[in-house]
């Protein structure tokens, strides 16, 4: 985990990490949220809709933004204030997702950073884009 304070950060600073959204994570997300939609839970159903496997819950992919801020940028001192996300392409079970955050704006008075977020799959396709506002506590 990173421990950046506000003064350590600069616009343009970037961090990336990889994550795999596998069967166990999909099943846990279903249990937590109660979203039993078959597109995310039934392989045959997903195949009948033209996907090669179960489609990852969009909100599960988006939850990696929590990791981006809470672990990487800025890490320990983060307090997420807002999140926006657009789901560009479906993420399929087992895809390796590269999550990247870049600081695009900083407000010194309230010590808040804005992050531009992109998520790419292992084919180099953009699957999610988003924005976050994160307070840096310290």
């Amino acid at each position: 985990m990173n421990h950046y304070g506000y003064k350590d950060l600069k616009p343009g600073m970037k961090m990336s990490f990889d994550a795999v959204l596998d069967e166990e994570k999909l099943n846990m997300f279903r249990i937590i949220t109660g979203d039993v939609n078959p597109l995310h839970n039934d392989r045959q159903y997903a195949e009948s809709k033209g996907y090669r496997d179960r489609v990852v819950f969009g909100m599960l992919s988006a939850s990696l933004m929590s990791t981006l801020a809470g672990v990487y940028l800025p890490g320990e001192k983060s307090l997420i204030q807002s999140v926006e996300s657009k789901f560009i392409k479906p993420v399929i079970l087992g895809d390796v997702i590269t999550v990247t955050g870049e600081i695009t704006d900083m407000n010194d008075t309230v010590q808040r950073i804005e992050l531009k977020v992109t998520m790419m799959n292992d084919k180099g396709e953009k699957v999610l884009k988003g924005k976050m506002q994160v307070l840096v506590n310290g």
């Binding site: 204030q81 407000n107 010194d108 008075t109 309230v110 808040r112 307070l135």
Partner: protein, 82 residues
């Protein structure tokens, strides 16, 4: 910039931040008069005010300003000094 102009522009900022076109600001308006004006939205408000007026609000004043009149004072003060 006149105080009246500050209030006009500030009213637009408040309406955008709180997504409420019915907001009318008075010198004495406080967070108690606007339902969604909590500590979370106060941060958004400060950022929006700084952007609108191209100023930096001194950190010490962020939490101590008691009403919109005082916010207008700070805006006028910081506009002159910047």
């Amino acid at each position: 910039m006149t105080r009246e102009e500050v209030f006009e522009r500030l009213t637009e900022v408040f309406r955008n931040v709180f997504d409420d076109d019915s907001i009318e600001l008075l010198e004495t308006t406080t967070s108690k008069d606007i339902e969604d004006w909590d500590s979370f939205e106060h941060i958004n408000l400060i950022v929006a005010v700084e952007k609108e007026f191209s100023i930096k609000i001194p950190m010490g004043k962020v939490t101590t300003m008691k009403d919109v009149g005082e916010m207008a004072d700070i805006i006028l003060q910081e506009s002159v000094s910047s």
